[in-house]
Each structure stands twice: as structure tokens, then as C-alpha cells.
């Protein structure tokens, strides 16, 4: 079941509570044929079924988030349930401090940022060879801001403003799996999911214009929403002719409903509605994949995924071959090569000039084709002396029918014919990923390095030249280790580095034709009226400069103690140990003398944390 937003806290925290997970598999290159609909990568997350024999509770109280996972049998040995819930405390902390501190002030602001997720699963054994389970997940982020200004002098304008932005997923899944015979298994899934991005604003003013008795009151309400809803039915079959020759096949049907954007504005009770055209689309598909051992050393995996995407009056068929070959050169060395074609009938629209949450999903339509990609990859796994595992992969990927905003447009523009404000183009990505893993006794270490390029080309952008994509990172390095100091103490640390995000900032400008724009407007940051509309920014190329690189070190200590079978765990540490001010957002700031400097905003420059976990 697709999940459209996979992280909380602007990317810092996964939407899944780790204690509730059974397995997480990450596919970068050769996707198995049962997965599709995405070009970049697949994260296959499986949630625990719940303990069929004992009741268990896992409770964590932390500064950033607190969570509880509870599981147990419904019918001992046969059926079980699992419930997990998590909520951030950051917003309670922020609003808890800000509101009382400003309670008696004429003017005040209360910021807030909170996240939550809730997951429930029921696993029922119908008979020894057949199971039924139901899952429900909902989670999201909420950014809010409250402002008031009630000046004592009655003839001044009073203002009250509340706004919030919320985004998140909700999904429900029902799954039946059965063993038809010792060699044939079936999984049938009925699922529904929704990703919503919402913003609302409640703005009220009260102005005394003429006399003490006469007041002019104005109220403005605004609601914005963009969403995608998917209802799907999927059947997966696994046939094991022998353990080494499994065959996987299946079929699926999905119904997608997209609202690319809708804005309701109400001024003094009068409502104005602006809405992008809504789109209903269907996906029908089948897939198959077989593992074919050619000899003792060579194993071939061949598969396909074929689908028909219907949107409006347009039908887009696609055929996606999936082929990978594995050569076991020795006990310690394995070589792999793969070719994969993928298609994605929905497009992620994101703004490249801001770090703010602004991702929305729009569908392929009769004018915007589904995006497609082909990827060739080669790699090897090798065991070095001392048991160090080394794997490396190189890849080259081409992409077509990519979509992005036209020049000057973004998610704040809501138009019925929203496709008119899009550009279509192509992309290419290539690189090398290498990883070293070491595990000895009570020490584990991991080193990962990626050298890569990711570029885009659109006919009506950047004079049809290639430019770096927002997610282009030439270097990415991750180093982590975990040391079990004693039976009770564990120390873990990680260091990450990545090249700066490509952005389009101008270092040069020139004079526009004198008097061509004889008026100004207001700076979005300061609300100061701009008086330099006579200047034109010169961009040699889109995304031609980069934000400063991102790096940070985290360190954590954990102390475990068991009381009978119950774990008592204290964790404490420091996030961003050496106070690196990583760029989150950069903006141009005009100085009083008319020159321009760039300013960087960093979030969470250094953050000590402590948490307490108990299981029973």
C-alpha cells in the first residue's frame, strides 16, 4: 500500500514507530516485479503482527517524542493485536511556554509544531493455513502560528490571526493470506490510503474609523487543501517449485482520486472558491517474476510488470521488464547486474527554492504523461579479511516525462487548468554507492559513501540546458558505530556529510528598462515595500549555486537494566554535537545601502536529549 509521506519533523523522524516494525527492506535498483509505481526507490515496511501468547507494553517518554506500543493475544496462540501511538512534545513545549508568557500582553505570538501517529493491527487465524489481518494507520505533522494585537489605543486596528499547516497519511488495509498447497501461497490485499496537505487561516480585524461607537469588523477565512486518495485491490501469488526456483506473480487494480489544490476564501461571510481540476484515474496491472538458477554459480531473476493507466480519455499502457543476474564468483565474492524499467503515474511537485514543507502530488493526465525510467546497475559484494563486508554498486538511470512548475509558479498558485503551469522534461542520474560493514563481538561500524549526479532538462526552463536537480548530491558520506561498553551501557555515534543542495540564487543583476515597473510590492519576510523593482536578477543557469554542505555528528548513550523481565532503559545524548549550523533555508536580504546579502536559517543547531523506556 503506498504511503505518500514517509517522515515527520521535516525529515528528521520516520513515520513508523521502530518498536512496531517487523522488517524494513530498501530497494534502490532492481525492484522486484511486485513493486512498482515509483522511479527512485522502494522502502518495503512490514509491521509486527503482535504477540500471540503474551501481553507486552513498550513505553518511552522522551523530549522530542513519546510513544507506546502495546500488543497481545486475542485468542492465545492464534490471533493477536498491536497498537502503537506516538506524539511529539515539541509543540506542547513551545506553546506551553509562549502562551502563558504573553497572556497579558497587547501583542503576542504562539508558534507550534507537532507530530503524531497511530497504528493498529489485528491478526486473525481463520484456520491453520489461512490468516486475515487488518491494519489502520494515521499520522501527520502540524505547524501552527497564532498572533494577536489588541492595542490599548482604541482607534488603532485590532488583529487576530490563527493559521496552521497540516500534512499526513491515513491508510487502512485488509489482507487475507493462505497456503493453497505446500507449494502455492496467496496474499490478497484490499487497501485505501489518503495523503492530505491542508492549510487554514482565520484572520479578524476590528477598526475604529470614525467615532468611539462605530467599529469596522472584517473577517477572512481561508482553507487550502491538496490530496490524493487511492483505493486498491492486489493479489500476490508465490509458487515454490523448489526452494531455489520460486515464481511470483499477481495482479492489481488501483483507483486514484487527486485534488491538486483547492482554496476556499471567505471574506465577511462571502465565500470564494478556487479549485484545480480534480482527476480520477485507474491503474490495472499484472506482474510475474521467476528465479532461474542457470548453474551453481549463476542465478537469473527475470520478471515483468505490465500496466494500463487510464486518466480522463487517455490510456497509457506500459511494460516494465525486470532482469537481474547474480554470479557467485567465490565464497566471498558475488557480482550482480540488473536492468529495470519503471513507470510512475503520479508526479511529486516540490519547490526547489525553499526548505519549507511544500510537497504535493498530482496525477498523470491526458496532457501530462506518466513518468518513466530505465536503470542499468552493476555491483559486487565481497567479504574482506576480518569479516568486513564490502558492497559497491554503479548505476545509470534515464527518466522521461518528468513534471515541474513553470517559471514563477508554485503551490500557492491555484488554477483550474493547473496543467498549464507545468513543464515536462527528462532526467538522468548516475553514480556509485559503496558500503563497508564491520561487526566484531561488541562493536559494530558502518561506512557508506555515494558519488552521484542527478540532472534535469526541460524545453522551457534554463534555455533547454541540463541543470542539477534539487536532490543532486555529488558526495554523501555516512559513518556510524555502536559499542556495547558493558552488559548495561551502549554507546552509539554517527556522522553524516552531504554536498549542498543546488539552488537558484542570483549573484548578479542588471538594470531593467527605466520606469518599466513604476510600482513596488512587499517583501515576503519583512513586509517592507520593495523599492528595487528596477533590477533584474541574472541567472546563468537554474540551480547553478549550492547551499553550504550539510554535516553533523550525533552521540547517544543507553543504559539498560532488567527488573525481572522488564526493561528499564535510559537514553541520553546530543544531536548535532559540534553545533553545526546546517542550512535549512536561504533568502536574499536587501541591505539599507541597496546591496544584497544572503542569509541562512538553521534549525536545531544543537539539541541534548534524554528519554526513558520501560517494557512490561
Amino acid at each position: 500500500m503506498p504511503l505518500y509521506n514517509a517522515s515527520h519533523l521535516l525529515g528528521f523522524v520516520s513515520v513508523f514507530t521502530p518498536e512496531a516494525l517487523q522488517s524494513v527492506d530498501f530497494y534502490k535498483g532492481a525492484f522486484p516485479a511486485r513493486f512498482g509505481g515509483r522511479l527512485s526507490s522502494i522502502v518495503d515496511v512490514r509491521v509486527k503482527d503482535g504477540n500471540k501468547y503474551d501481553y507486552q507494553t513498550d513505553l518511552t517518554l522522551g523530549m522530542l517524542t513519546s510513544k507506546i506500543v502495546h500488543e497481545g493475544p486475542i485468542k492465545k496462540g492464534k490471533s493477536s493485536y498491536l497498537i502503537s501511538a506516538r506524539r511529539s512534545l515539541l509543540d506542547l513545549l513551545l506553546t506551553g511556554i509562549a502562551r502563558p508568557a504573553q497572556k497579558n500582553r497587547d501583542e503576542g505570538t504562539v508558534p507550534g509544531y507537532g507530530v503524531y501517529d497511530l497504528h493498529a493491527k489485528v491478526n486473525l487465524e481463520l484456520n491453520p493455513v489461512s490468516h486475515l489481518n487488518f491494519s489502520f494507520y494515521t499520522g501527520g505533522d502540524r505547524l501552527s502560528f497564532e498572533y494577536w494585537n489588541h492595542p490599548e489605543y482604541r482607534k488603532q486596528k485590532e488583529e487576530d490571526n490563527k493559521f496552521s499547516i497540516r500534512w499526513g497519511n491515513t491508510l487502512a488495509v485488509g489482507r487475507w493470506n493462505a497456503r493453497i498447497n505446500p507449494k502455492l501461497f496467496v496474499n490478497t490485499t484490499l487497501n485505501w490510503s489518503r495523503f492530505r496537505y491542508q492549510a487554514d487561516n482565520d484572520f479578524y480585524t476590528r477598526t475604529n474609523r470614525n467615532s468611539d461607537e462605530e467599529f469596522e469588523e472584517n473577517s477572512y477565512l481561508m482553507d487550502y487543501e491538496s490530496h490524493v486518495e487511492t483505493l486498491g485491490l492486489k493479489t500476490d501469488w508465490d509458487y515454490y517449485k523448489s526452494e531455489k526456483k520460486p515464481v511470483h506473480f499477481g495482479s492489481f487494480i488501483y483507483r486514484h482520486h487527486h485534488l491538486p489544490g483547492r482554496r476556499n476564501s471567505t471574506t465577511n461571510g462571502k465565500e470564494y472558491i478556487y479549485s484545480a481540476k480534480q482527476v480520477l484515474s485507474w491503474e490495472f496491472g499484472v506482474y510475474g517474476q521467476a528465479e532461474i538458477p542457470l548453474n551453481n554459480q549463476v542465478n537469473l531473476s527475470a520478471g515483468f510488470r505490465s500496466l494500463l493507466f487510464l486518466t480522463g480519455e487517455k490510456a497509457y499502457p506500459s511494460f516494465e521488464p525486470r532482469l537481474s543476474i547474480q554470479y557467485q564468483a567465490s565464497d566471498k565474492t558475488t557480482w550482480t547486474a540488473a536492468y529495470t524499467r519503471m513507470s510512475q503515474p503520479i508526479h511529486l511537485l516540490t519547490n526547489s527554492n525553499t526548505g519549507m514543507p511544500s510537497d504535493i502530488w498530482v496525477p498523470a493526465t491526458s496532457r501530462l504523461r506518466p513518468q518513466t525510467a530505465g536503470q542499468l546497475s552493476m555491483g559486487f559484494n565481497h567479504i574482506l579479511p576480518a569479516g568486513i563486508h564490502w558492497n559497491t554498486e554503479i548505476y545509470y538511470k534515464t527518466m522521461r516525462h518528468l513534471v515541474t512548475y513553470s517559471q514563477g509558479y508554485g503551490m500557492t498558485d491555484v488554477h483550474e487548468n493547473w496543467e498549464d503551469y507545468m513543464e515536462t522534461g527528462k532526467g538522468r542520474a548516475w553514480g556509485m554507492e559503496t558500503e563497508l560493514k564491520y561487526h566484531f563481538s561488541n562493536f559494530e561500524a558502518q561506512l557508506g559513501y555515494t558519488l552521484s549526479r542527478n540532472e534535469r532538462r526541460f524545453e522551457d526552463l534554463n534555455r533547454a540546458r541540463w541543470f542539477p536537480h534539487k536532490y543532486d548530491r555529488l558526495h554523501k558520506l555516512d559513518l556510524s558505530f555502536m559499542w556495547k561498553i558493558s552488559s548495561k551501557w551502549t554507546m552509539a555515534s554517527s556522522w553524516t556529510y552531504q554536498s549542498g543542495t543546488p539552488v537558484s540564487f542570483s549573484g548578479y543583476d542588471y538594470a531593467g528598462y527605466p520606469g518599466n515597473i513604476p510600482y513596488g510590492w512587499h517583501d515576503i519576510f519583512t513586509d517592507v515595500e520593495l523599492d528595487h523593482t528596477d533590477r533584474i536578477q541574472y541567472y546563468p543557469s537554474v540551480n547553478q549555486t549550492r547551499m553550504p554542505s550539510y554535516h553533523r555528528m550525533d552521540i547517544a548513550f543507553t543504559h539498560d537494566r532488567y527488573v525481572k523481565k522488564s526493561l528499564r532503559q535510559w537514553s541520553f545524548g546530543i544531536y548535532n554535537l559540534y553545533f553545526r549550523q546546517n542550512p535549512y533555508f536561504i533568502y536574499a536580504d536587501t541591505q539599507p545601502d541597496g546591496t544584497t546579502v544572503y542569509k541562512q536559517i538553521s534549525l536545531l543547531p544543537i539539541l541534548p536529549f534524554v528519554s526513558y523506556r520501560i517494557t512490561f
Partner: protein, 361 residues
């Protein structure tokens, strides 16, 4: 909607750390900047500067250029340097002639461009309705009283057009002012801050339309925290000249917008409407209702400006406005301003122009 994001950014600022950062823009670009919009109303005039770093304050002007205008009727015209990077001639461009620009500056490749003045637009059935209707701009959370305005347009073939709405006050609309340089010392003696004096010096000994000088002085007032400079000093010390015709710089731009498909506003700009049509079109517009009631004495006139643009001028205008708005809103993709200058940037394009009198108040 825009306000949501303003508050969001304020929120981010309130919980984050802010510092000035040096970005690497690569090697310095060296390009000539040509600005030349021509019509039958004005003699040839071209502004020539160089691209500058945004950390510098003033445009480097180019004074040693050879500037030629080649017409497709075989004639050639040389524009001469008149100071401060301005090249001009007393001859007027003509409609129906295609002009080629040839510009040479030592150390630069030859700069070239070509364009023509488009055919005129016939405006008819102008209907300004003196009744207000309230319009809500959801992007700015503001309401404004507007009056409907409709008209018919006719031209030959594909036409690019720009509308702007102006008010003109008979009270000061015929006045131009020259602020003499010998007025600076008395202002210094009167305690006017040096910041303001330095900026005022740049306005001296040049004749400005009243409104333009007032606007420029008010910008100095705001940036140097020095108030009432214009009313108390600059206007009083200026040498006034009253013309018999309306001084173009004394027209005050005001709000105009359209919701129809053929003509559209650029982003959330409410002062320029751009559109294209083929042969004929009806324009349904809204203009500010009774804007700026203070007419400084005398009648206040409402005018509609209709500008027929060459395609290059239209693209330049659209991208220029879109870029300016984009720079104030990080939630949009950056805009590269259209240029038709080979080996340089800027614009060399023709237009025609007419003012339609709507109403007097």
C-alpha cells in the same frame, strides 16, 4: 494563501538561527546590458551598462560603445553617447520598419538584436461604469473597491497588448521641477541628515515631473528617517515649470486586473494586465474605484494606457514582472527574464502606445 507562508517563515525564523552566508556564484560574468524600447512617440534612446555583482551598488556604465541602428529600408543611424551610458539620436523610429542593432565595445563580442514597432491597436466601445463592486484578493487578504471597464480591440493578426490604469491630477500634473545643487548646503545647515543629502545630490540639476521627484524624495525620506523633505525643502527650493500639456511622469499608476482568459494578470500583480489576441477581442477589466481622492486641487482624471507590444517586449515584460514577484515569494520557481540581445542581456524592442481618457472626478 501568501500570508500563511509569511507566518510560516516567521515561525521558522523564531525557532531557528540566522546568519549571513557566502554563496559561491562561480566566475564573474562579463556581459553588456542593453535597454532600448522604441516607439514612434520618442526619439531613439539606448541605455548601455554592464552586469554587476549584487554586492555592488551601482551599474558600471559603458561610454565607449559604437552603436548603430540598421533599418531594412537600407538606412543606417548612429546613436551618440550623451553621458551616463545613454546613447541617443534626434530621429524617430517608424512603424513598419525592422531595425537591427549593432553594438561594439572593445573587449566584448559584437552585440546584436532585431525588432520592429508593431501595428497599431484600434480601441472602441470603451465602457467605464461608475459603480463600485468589492473585490477580495485572497493572496493579500485585502478587499478593494473596483469599477468594471470593458472595451473592444482590433488589430492586424496576432497582437500583444498591455493595459495599465492611471490617474492624473490637474493640480500638479502639468508641473515639472528642477532641484538645484546649490540648495544642498542650506539643507545641511538646516540639519538634514547626511544620508539624505547624499541621495538628494543625485537628484539635483535634472528636471523631473512633479510626481516623479516627489516619489524619489519620499524614498529618501523612508530610507534615511528624514520626514517631510519634499514638502518642506525640495519642492520649495525647486525651479517649477508649468507645461501646457500633461507631463507623462505625472500620471499615477493604479490598480487594474482581469479575470478573463485572453488577458491575464501576472502572478499577483494588480497594476499590469498582459494579453494576446488575434484580430479582435473584448477586454473585461476592473480598475480601482475613485483611487487617491486627494487630487491636490483640480480635477482628477482617469486614464487607460493601451500598449501594443512586439512579441519580445511582451515576453520581457511578463518575465520581468513574474521575476520581481517571485523574488518576494520563495514558494515559486525562479524566473529568467526574457532577452533578445545576442551576446548580451536586456531588451531591444518596439511598441505603440495610446492613452484612453475614461472619466473625470
Amino acid at each position: 494563501m501568501k500570508n500563511i507562508f509569511i507566518y510560516l517563515i516567521v515561525l521558522t525564523l523564531s525557532i531557528g538561527c540566522t546568519k549571513v552566508v557566502d554563496l559561491d556564484f562561480g566566475e564573474t560574468e562579463k556581459k553588456l546590458v542593453v535597454n532600448c524600447l522604441f516607439s514612434e512617440d520618442q526619439p531613439w534612446k539606448l541605455y548601455l551598462t554592464e552586469l554587476k555583482s549584487r554586492s555592488e551598488l551601482t551599474d558600471p556604465v559603458v561610454t565607449n560603445a559604437s552603436v548603430q541602428i540598421l533599418a531594412d529600408d537600407g538606412s543606417t543611424l548612429e546613436l551618440l553617447h550623451a553621458g551616463k551610458g545613454v546613447y541617443q539620436s534626434d530621429q524617430y523610429p517608424r512603424e513598419g520598419v525592422t531595425y537591427q542593432l549593432r553594438l561594439n565595445v572593445p573587449g566584448y563580442e559584437t552585440v546584436s538584436a532585431g525588432n520592429a514597432i508593431p501595428a497599431g491597436i484600434e480601441v472602441s466601445d470603451v465602457d467605464y461604469q461608475d459603480r463600485p463592486t468589492t473585490y477580495f484578493f485572497s493572496n493579500t487578504l485585502e478587499t478593494v473597491d473596483v469599477a468594471p471597464l470593458s472595451l473592444k480591440l482590433r488589430s492586424d493578426g496576432e497582437t500583444f497588448v498591455r493595459f495599465r490604469f492611471y490617474t492624473f491630477s490637474a493640480g500638479y500634473g502639468y508641473i515639472s521641477c528642477l532641484f538645484p545643487s546649490d540648495s544642498i548646503e542650506p539643507l545641511r545647515a538646516a540639519g538634514i541628515p547626511e544620508c539624505a543629502l547624499k541621495k538628494l545630490e543625485k537628484l539635483t540639476d535634472v528636471r523631473y515631473p512633479y510626481l516623479e521627484l516627489k516619489t524619489l524624495t519620499e524614498e529618501i525620506e523612508n530610507s534615511c528617517d528624514s520626514y517631510l523633505l519634499f514638502d518642506n525643502y525640495v519642492f520649495r527650493k525647486s525651479q517649477k515649470d508649468t507645461s501646457e500639456v500633461r507631463v507623462p511622469g505625472n500620471f499615477e499608476i493604479d490598480q487594474i486586473f482581469s479575470n478573463t482568459n485572453w488577458a491575464h494578470n501576472v502572478s499577483i500583480d494588480f497594476r499590469t494586465v498582459l494579453g494576446t489576441f488575434n484580430t479582435t477581442a473584448n477586454a473585461d477589466l476592473f480598475v480601482d474605484y475613485m483611487p487617491a481622492m486627494n487630487g491636490y486641487g483640480g480635477t482628477r482624471e482617469y486614464w487607460l494606457e493601451v500598449t501594443g507590444m512586439s512579441e519580445d517586449y511582451y515576453k520581457y515584460q511578463e518575465t520581468y514582472i513574474r521575476q520581481a514577484f517571485q523574488s518576494a515569494n520563495p514558494y515559486t520557481e525562479v524566473v529568467e527574464v526574457h532577452s533578445n540581445i545576442t551576446n548580451g542581456v536586456g531588451i531591444f524592442a518596439g511598441y505603440n502606445h495610446q492613452m484612453v481618457h475614461l472619466y473625470d472626478y
